[in-house]
């Protein structure tokens, strides 16, 4: 592994000796690239080194040192470990060339980094705020930016522990509310930005080549944020010609709960329950990703039994999530609620197991650094065995039997919203969406973590890249999950479930780590930077639902407006994760 890395390092540095240097800080990995030559290096990496898949893009603010680092995680779509690339800029005038020409999948992530950290991406065609609104004061993830309910830099806050003189933070705010305004601001003369820039982006003017013989008026329609088909508070702005979509812009941030800012105030372990609330359908896999990232930094590994329990819970989560995804998707295309009720029935049985092992149905908070929180309680093993050997395989077949050849789903799904493999990779699409487009990329195989290399399973893949295939692939994946579960239940060893003693306050050495898992919705990554203190310095979540939306416009343009609902349903987004 180390040898391989060295060879790779040499190759890249000798290819671009002037522009690239190794990041030799202790605990860090990858390369530092000069900002002016970023595009050339990225093109080289893509075309000569095979790093065609940009999955994660974020920035780290090194305040009070006067620089910011934009971090890129690149992968080969054929599998293998990450190549980390960093670009340094000053804090005052943070600007980096946009990677949109090389990796179109950088679109939403660059907008997010601009919004939250104030890094300007030169050449980005539509650099607007994405999670907050135009007119918001400042870039909140900068280290010197303080929220209205600011108390201290890091938890535990002194008023809670050890002093214990608790007050309500509202009482210290002049508005008795979570509010703060810049000095001299006059609310009476304030003109809100509204969505002028957004509507300009959708464009009311026809682009050349779009005109047809018939002269038609085009209209802009908002779907959401309160719309039953958007799975939460997601909004799409579409420009329509008749019923055909000419342009589409996703609008998000209606559930932006400041996950990362709160995460950087929290201690490492305090973040665990917050990860549950990212993708609230699959809290166990979220725990998994975060635990992997921090364990990488700490250099520990959980004991055998804990590994098996982790894999079991993660696969149960996948079944749970795909059950719901299939059910809601059918809901969206008109099979109103009946398939969903069948799917949720199985989900409830899995939630019973989660409740038994972790104490909560949905927000499990089950993983710990170097293990899991609790062992299986009495009688649960038998229940799990019955479920994975008898009931679940039967019920998945039943769903397949009832739904797969159904007329509605075939006529609405086949050939709709096609994403070619090239498009999928360049748009950084992950998970079932990528595999339905014919790219057999599954992190459990491509870059194995935990003990997935021991199990016998196939990477589900389908080749049409349409909505129907995205439905089928979820059924396939549930079958594979059951296979893994059967092996894990069969081989579950006895033994401890926690490495060392369970601790509330873990010591995390300085450095950076990127932990990623194949979550039910795709690659869920956690980028954690530690400076040796009890709180993470940077805590970034690479959310699959968020980045999969980059491909929404490509899939939707040219289709009818009613089909966007089906296309969106086939992506399977969860707003808690999209907006964080």
């Amino acid at each position: 592994m180390t040898e391989q890395t060295l060879v790779r390092e040499d190759a890249l540095i000798s290819r671009f000796p002037e522009w690239v240097s190794a990041d030799d800080r202790k605990g860090y990995e990858g390369y530092i690239v000069q900002s002016e030559h970023l595009i050339e290096v990225a093109t080289g990496l893509r075309d000569e080194f095979g790093y065609d898949y940009l999955t994660n893009l974020t920035a780290t603010d090194y305040y009070p040192d006067d620089f910011m680092e934009t971090v890129y995680h690149l992968f080969r779509s054929t599998g293998g470990p990450a190549l980390v690339m960093k670009v340094r800029t000053s804090r005052e005038d943070a600007s980096v060339p946009s990677l949109m020409p090389v990796y179109p999948g950088a679109d939403l992530q660059e907008r997010e980094t601009w919004d939250l950290l104030g890094v300007r991406f030169e050449g980005h065609p539509d650099l607007r705020r994405i999670l907050l609104w135009e007119g918001f004061n400042g870039h909140p993830l900068r280290k010197d930016w303080r929220e209205p309910f600011y108390e201290e830099e890091g938890k535990p806050f002194k008023n809670r522990w050890p002093d214990g003189k608790v007050y309500r933070i509202e009482d210290k705010n002049p508005f008795n509310n979570n509010l703060d305004y810049p000095a001299g601001f006059n609310p009476e003369t304030w003109v809100p930005e509204k969505d002028a820039a957004l509507y300009a982006g959708v464009g009311l003017i026809e682009k050349p080549g779009e005109t047809t013989d018939m002269k038609t008026d085009q209209v802009v329609v908002n779907l959401g944020p309160q719309h039953t088909s958007t799975h939460g508070v997601f909004r799409m702005v579409v420009r329509l010609d008749g019923e055909t979509i000419k342009a589409l812009k996703p609008v998000m941030g209606y559930l932006h709960r400041n996950h990362e800012k709160i995460g950087e105030r929290n201690t490492f372990l305090q973040n665990m329950p917050f990860t549950d609330r990212l993708d609230y359908f699959s809290s166990m896999s979220n725990n998994f990703g975060y635990a992997l990232a921090v364990e990488k930094l700490m250099g520990i590994k959980p004991p055998e039994r804990a590994e098996y329990l982790r894999v079991m819970m993660a696969e149960f989560t996948r079944i749970c999530n795909h059950m719901a995804a299939v059910g809601f998707f059918l809901n969206d295309i008109g099979a109103y609620f009946t398939p969903l009720l069948y799917a949720l029935e199985e989900r409830e049985l899995i939630l019973d197991i989660f409740e038994a092992v972790s104490g909560s149905r949905m927000m499990c908070n089950y993983f710990r650094f170097g293990g899991v929180a609790r062992d299986l309680p009495d009688g649960i093993y038998e229940k799990i065995r019955k479920l994975v050997f008898d009931r679940l395989p039967r019920k998945i077949d039943e769903l397949d039997l009832y739904l797969t050849q159904n007329e509605i789903i075939r006529s609405r799904g086949e050939g709709l919203g096609v994403l070619t493999p090239q498009q999928a990779i360049s748009l950084s699409v992950v998970g079932p969406l990528l595999r339905a487009s014919g790219v057999p990329y599954d992190i459990r195989r491509a870059d194995p973590y935990s003990i997935y290399d021991r199990f016998d399973f196939d990477v589900a893949v389908r080749y049409h890249g349409d909505v129907y295939d995205r439905f089928l692939i979820r059924i396939d994946e549930m079958r594979q999950s059951v296979r893994i579960l059967q092996q894990a239940v069969r081989d579950l060893p006895e033994g401890p479930i926690q490495e060392g003693k369970p601790q509330y306050q873990v010591r995390v050495p300085a450095g950076e780590a990127y932990g990623r898992v194949e979550g039910p919705k795709g690659e869920l990554g956690f980028y954690v930077v530690s400076n040796g203190k009890p709180n993470p310095w940077r805590y970034h979540v690479r959310a699959p639902s968020f980045i999969n939306l980059t491909a929404l416009e490509t899939m939707a343009v040219g289709n009818k407006v009613a089909d966007t609902v089906a296309i969106l349903g086939s992506i399977d987004i969860v707003l808690g994760e999209t907006d964080r």
Partner: protein, 220 residues
């Protein structure tokens, strides 16, 4: 409703005995409303998933007359605020509430809607939807289990039972007031607080200018 006292007071002919019930107007009015509460189909966050589970087969809140979830606020009479209310979303939430016809109720489901919950300290989070809307029932939990949600809804039914046609707000001459829609500024602006905000920002500006002047004087 036939009791010993009733027969002495009301003379019921034998042919309709057992077919007539006597009650108050309030009781029959409330009975009708409490048994057909139509919630708005509107999920914000994690709690919405538990809300769906409550509507699904295992818990099934249609047993309490609530199965008709309406996507349009115009047809709903209960707003279940199921999740974290963010500053960006509260604008729409207030608008939706204003669009609901009376009688209308608000249930704050979960810790976030009740008081900000685990995300309270976030810069984009409203610490409780009751800063903007009048809340009838708060349901604790993160997220509340389906049982807790059903309990909350039964509590709402009990509240409906206690209301009287004489003094409910939607039959008052003054009518019900519309809640002013917040504005997205540098931070969210509640139009009811214009004066307060102005005072605060002016004070802050004055303070900053004196702070920047003082060291200059010292240097001089």
């Amino acid at each position: 409703m036939k009791g010993q006292d009733d027969t002495t007071r009301y003379d019921i002919p034998p042919e309709i005995e057992g077919q007539v019930a006597i009650t108050t107007l309030d009781k029959i009015y409330n009975w009708g409303r409490r048994s057909s509460v139509w919630p708005m189909m509107f999920g914000l966050a994690c709690c919405a998933i538990e809300m769906i589970c409550t509507a699904a087969s295992r818990y099934d809140f249609s047993r309490f007359g609530m199965e008709v979830m309406r996507p349009s606020p115009r047809q709903a009479d209960l707003m279940l605020v199921s999740g974290t209310v963010t500053k960006k979303m509260v604008v729409q939430i207030v608008r939706l509430y204003n669009q609901m016809p009376e009688p209308k109720y608000v249930v704050a489901m979960g810790a976030c809607a009740s008081g900000g919950g685990p995300f309270k300290e976030g810069y984009n989070v409203v610490p409780g939807v009751d800063r903007y809307l009048p809340v009838d029932v708060y349901i604790p939990g993160c997220p509340p289990t389906p049982q807790a949600l059903i309990h909350g809804l039964i509590t709402l039914q009990k509240k409906i039972d206690t209301q009287s046609i004489k003094n409910v707000r939607w039959y008052q001459k003054t009518g019900t007031e519309t809640i002013p829609v917040p504005i997205l500024g540098p931070d969210i602006i509640d139009p009811r607080q214009m004066e307060l905000i102005k005072e605060y920002t002016q004070n802050k500006a004055a303070q900053e200018s004196t702070e920047s002047e003082t060291p200059a004087v010292e240097k001089a």
